[in-house]
Amino acid sequence: MYHTDKSCEIWAVAGGKGGTGKSFITSSIATQLALKGRRLVIIDADFGGANLHSFFGISRPKHSLSEFFEERIPLSQIIVHSGISNMGLITGALGSLDSESISYTQKQKLFRQIRSLEADYILIDLGAGSHINTLDTFLLADKMIVVTVPEVTAIENLYQFIKSVYFRKLKFFLGSFGLKDMLQDAWKNKAAYGIRNFANLLDHVKKSSPDVHVAFEKEMSTFVVYIILNQVRKSTDILVGENLKSVCLKLLGLTAVYAGYADYDEEVQKYINRKEPFMIHCRLSPVIREIEDITEHIMSGKTAIFSARSYEHGRY
């Protein structure tokens, strides 16, 4: 049923904590791709907190996802113009729809139709938190992107989110081995198995059998998270992204790429409040250049390299 010869690449943006700038970053990256001549569709999948349209200066969108869920109108027919050439927008449902009211079948249908949209890129803006629908939509992506800010609470939520996504993928993976209860069992008997943290749990799974171990390495190695650090206020903050990448690798055992950072700039809020797309109208902001870099890094899959100089001037 699924399109295997997918021509489009799906990017999903999430990150755990609310208000870190997920929607701002998603809309900005989308605009950058459009300015580079790529055709794309940007989707507001923040069920219950839809506001992506505002970043494009749209007040009352003509169509929304509620038509897809409630009136069974195909996704391709509810795309509205974003106001920026090359970019279509699917706005989130305003009002009645919330994550709980979406059935499993509806979700599968949505994913199928997202995959078959006609575009070079599909960008999906997700809501805060680790709701199962958010996790599943995130896992749909070819490039999984998280946005965080240099604050301990945001970082805590980020780890929780990444771990939840990883568990979700692990559960699907174990299910394919007929071991779908393994995680639950491991957690219930964690004392007996000596499982005290995330890394212990992964070791437990790997140790269960050589077959599982081999398949695990193969399947889970495709799990790569792109980290974007937003609202950077001082130069030493920049390295937080680098540190998060390192922690993911060394302590959680997951691959992460630091895609880059965006400065905190008061202009951002001004443009949002005036309902003018920031990337189009605020060309003098340093954030423009930073979004360009981030977009480039995610497209190429290469990590942002911060010169060795920055380490000398880092906090440590």
Binding site: T153, I155, E156, S246, L251, A308, Y316
Partner: protein, 187 residues
């Protein structure tokens, strides 16, 4: 040394395999200080950054750096990373410390006593059991620890005294290895 190993060392230091030695050294110092410290990125991990795993990471970093240093054939002196501010080393103390050629258990004990720090409070601050601290000083081990743990404990000990923990660990582990091989020969 195989290229496979070399690649692995670069990976540990999170560097591309063509990074020059100057970069290797900076990254090593940076990561070493990061995993030794109490940054918000580590604090936010809660239970996912247990002490022994951090010590394991530090040992891996050290090993990767040492090996790459050999391969790249440089012998620049290792700059001492930032010192712990817990204990300020007074001037006279500094002279005394500068006069120490190589650290050992008894010398560490002497320094600690000169600084007026008791083992009980040190155990609390370093989160290393008092028994192990005593054994480190006495160089008498009732329990044969894995080297990474012992090294980790020695580093904690040295950090608490604001010593150059790299040098202390290096000196101490050299003695420890000699001590172990000679005690094995006796058997």
């Amino acid at each position: 040394m195989s290229t496979e190993d070399t690649r692995r060392y670069y990976e540990v230091l999170e560097l591309p395999p063509d990074a020059p030695f100057a970069e290797v050294r900076k990254k090593y110092l940076y990561l070493n200080a990061f995993y030794m410290g109490d940054s918000m990125e580590l604090a936010a991990l809660n239970g996912d950054a247990p002490y022994h795993r951090r010590q394991g990471i530090l040992a891996e970093l050290q090993d990767a750096y040492d090996r790459l240093k050999d391969i790249l054939g440089r012998e620049e002196p290792v700059q001492q990373p930032l010192q712990s501010p817990d204990v300020t080393v007074r001037e006279s103390m500094r002279d005394y410390l500068d006069g120490i050629a190589a650290f050992s258990g008894p010398i560490l004990k002497e320094i600690r006593e000169k600084m007026g720090i008791d083992l009980g409070s040190m155990a609390i601050a370093t989160k290393v059991q008092k028994r192990y601290l005593e054994e480190i000083e006495a160089e008498q081990f009732t329990w044969i620890p894995a080297e990474v743990y012992l090294r980790g404990y020695v580093i904690e000990y040295a950090r608490h005294l604001s010593l150059d923990h790299q040098k202390v660990a290096e000196d101490y582990m050299k003695r420890y290895r000699k001590f172990r091989s000679s005690s094995e020969e006796k058997k």
